[in-house]
Symmetry: D2
Amino acid sequence: MVSNVTSKSKSTNLTNRARMLVSCPDRPGIVAAVSRFLYEHGANIVQSDQYTMDPEGGLFFIRIEFDLDNLDARREQLKADFAVVASEFNMKWSITRASRKKRLAIFVSKEDHCLLELLWHWQSGDLDADIAMVISNHDDMRGLVEPLGIPYHHIPVTPDTKAEAEKRQLELVSGQVDVVILARYMQIISPKFIEHFPNKIINIHHSFLPAFVGGKPYAQAYNRGVKIIGATAHYVTEELDGGPIIEQDVQRVSHRDNVEDLKRIGRHIERTVLARAVNWHVEDRVIVHQNKTVVFS
Amino acid sequence: MVSNVTSKSKSTNLTNRARMLVSCPDRPGIVAAVSRFLYEHGANIVQSDQYTMDPEGGLFFIRIEFDLDNLDARREQLKADFAVVASEFNMKWSITRASRKKRLAIFVSKEDHCLLELLWHWQSGDLDADIAMVISNHDDMRGLVEPLGIPYHHIPVTPDTKAEAEKRQLELVSGQVDVVILARYMQIISPKFIEHFPNKIINIHHSFLPAFVGGKPYAQAYNRGVKIIGATAHYVTEELDGGPIIEQDVQRVSHRDNVEDLKRIGRHIERTVLARAVNWHVEDRVIVHQNKTVVFS
Amino acid sequence: MVSNVTSKSKSTNLTNRARMLVSCPDRPGIVAAVSRFLYEHGANIVQSDQYTMDPEGGLFFIRIEFDLDNLDARREQLKADFAVVASEFNMKWSITRASRKKRLAIFVSKEDHCLLELLWHWQSGDLDADIAMVISNHDDMRGLVEPLGIPYHHIPVTPDTKAEAEKRQLELVSGQVDVVILARYMQIISPKFIEHFPNKIINIHHSFLPAFVGGKPYAQAYNRGVKIIGATAHYVTEELDGGPIIEQDVQRVSHRDNVEDLKRIGRHIERTVLARAVNWHVEDRVIVHQNKTVVFS
Amino acid sequence: MVSNVTSKSKSTNLTNRARMLVSCPDRPGIVAAVSRFLYEHGANIVQSDQYTMDPEGGLFFIRIEFDLDNLDARREQLKADFAVVASEFNMKWSITRASRKKRLAIFVSKEDHCLLELLWHWQSGDLDADIAMVISNHDDMRGLVEPLGIPYHHIPVTPDTKAEAEKRQLELVSGQVDVVILARYMQIISPKFIEHFPNKIINIHHSFLPAFVGGKPYAQAYNRGVKIIGATAHYVTEELDGGPIIEQDVQRVSHRDNVEDLKRIGRHIERTVLARAVNWHVEDRVIVHQNKTVVFS
């Protein structure tokens, strides 16, 4: 249906573009070693960000985008060579190719705003990823998804079938996707599922100043007369809504906004924040350390 | 010292300007009755805001600024006349004169940023109020306050002298001030003190998404890697930090901001939010209903 | 295709909801007269906003939403009755029914972001209007539009055919639509066309601090190193991009954003600002006075 | 008077902290060379930011904060050694000590808001600079400045005495200050004066979307009904208000804000934007390239 909407690639030619992420205990010589390594291998640094978590534990983080001729053929050797440097500095590291787009599974329930936003960014070429599939516990979104050529899997979930449903989900995503996006998926993910995607499941949820516990948070926010509502995108860990925060944003509201208005505004923030978080993740801009993120946005 | 900084009046001539605040159960005819009353008394409406809290209890709120010739001489009669209208509609109401500036007592401890901001707005003529006194449990700010001609009262507070200190504070403010501003005053106000100033004590405190319980909230926020920090100005009620919210605002932060940076940014938000809240209060723009505010800003 | 995406109505029952817009020279008694009129006709005021442009010409503006039983049958009489009040105060005025959704024609060229945003708000029920048709000088968006059941008219425009094309456009929209949205329509609208839709054509364009004249504004903004880019939605008048501003917004950028990034961010602001402006227009929240707007948002 | 307001140092001990700024044509090996140099000299990199202006001219920019034992004694040798590296890569560069605070001259006329904000940041320890003097063409601010121990020079300026006045200003600042801040100084600075402080004079001025030429910009903005007003801090060049932009910010306004409100809001944005720009400048976070800035904030 939208075959005439040409997917614009964000960068015309990224065949030789690589991204290196490193975190390690801070000590003199890290940047010298890494930059010398890249220089001697003929790489050209395109962008580089680093951060020293100095007083709080001495961790050092660096993200480098570089171009290297003939990257595809040389990358295994490159990795083998870098392992020597990495070992000397006790580094956690990764080198990924920009041309190898990450594959997403989007989980969704009945609310469509986050899914639509991701589809929109994807169609416009602003989301540098492949959407491998959409999985939902309802069938409502099929008509939005299939015409775009994206497989849609309807896997109903009831208390009785929850384990079975998750097994089916795992079969679908295992080896097929790099990231799972919970785009207002209203089921709790089990620790077992999370284990398969450590810091690779991104969730979005509403956020308030102050926070409200219990049900109907928008009604509570209305009754308390909050002036600001927000949303938080985070990696999913076993602690419900307690994983590393990737992105947050807020919008002003007033007494004139009733509960329905707050929900509508909330939806707008959620879709914006989730899209930003997913974008940064697929461009390897996020490093997780303990329960927080370093985002080289 | 700053006697050469002429205090610019926000409005050149407000002698005949009045502000009417009304809240009452909603029903047809309220606006007709109020506007007819003002028209027949020869008042000229300058600004009017209203709000119907329709589905949630049927409350109606209105704020009207009007000019009335010879206001000072006629206001007692005006109030007596309006009481008849008010009675018919079960109104809570007030009519105040814009020229009768509210008198503030500012309570402060060791952090000066909120006090300085209020002094700055006051000196520049943007805060339409009189600062009757500054009260502190420390002597540190005396040098900032007294040169401006504002009385400074140092009332130390220890667990043993707390009751005595509050008694002394009450003596100072009783009948002398209309509003108490807690400009980073780090002592808890007793219910007895609050009783004397219902919805007339304004406090400022930091706010986070999510909220953090326990001590050292900035350290907790840093460890959780929040991307947004904020501040909330609210009326003080017996429930600690749980009173009606007047204003909130936030600012983006990142992993690069350490705990000290977060505190510094927090101070900037606090002073801005508090100044806005105080401004709205002294201009009679805030109506409290149950535990929330209607702000006609 | 998206028939399963139920269009949620913004308000459950607006059959009896009306909106009154009034502007007139300010003088005492206006509010009293209007509110008495509504009261005596049995109307219940739901929301009311007013504004006195006091020192600058003495104009008075009021917007009232009210409910009136049996509105549809009584509205002609209501208007006839109000004409008497209006005449006394020299009012420009309108009374519209909320249930009578405004009909939009969306004009678009090759960029889809603004069109997609409007379609998204419309599908989600957040845009309280009917999209009567999409008109484009290209055929690219047909696949986006027709599956939603919206007619798509491809009217090519060349210098030679411009007059003929506009004639065809006018035939399509005349009597069929209330508002024309230029959603990145890259052709200049003739004064004759504008005459048919005074203050009823809404355009969106980029905006910079400072402004840049001449071509390639994003390249100029990049070379100047601006830190903020924005967008402006305005009514179209004969003066190119000089009509009354409805809404503006901005986003921070930095030296890291290249020309393509600026354009991408600009697209995001444009779609957000245009959607807001259209929303306010279709809910009768905008009054134009001379070359500026009063927006009761 | 405010001697009891202890100036909190932003960082407890910066004796050995240095900041290196480099810009040069991009080519492989720069980071490797710089980081190797620092490593071999025993420096510990605390913060590092870099930026490649890749497609637009191939410039490369880097800012490194590092600690070096015994910095004061070794810095001349360090510079001599680095000159060799710099020469190889055609670098423009500087190495400054964090402990050597920059000295400011603040120029002011009759509006005090920008001066007050800078004084406030300075007193609170958030502005890492020394205020060497305040120069004004009026005597109004003397009472604000002298009690803080800062010299105040009143140099009246008339068309006849302008040249003479500027000569006197130059005598005062030459060799005494590193940066000149025009904190709402309402006189045009001559090219000759600017020559003495290339990219070292910071000015603040209002900014609008769209821009307004001619006098009374706030009145024009009001008449056009702008929804956003802003301010721009920039380095002063011979082209009036056309120099490299350091920082910009904006605030929403509405039809309710009259010309005086717009001016008041404008003052608030101006003081905030100027303070940020000055802060970044004194911390060596700004590199100027052609007519734009790279700000490593």
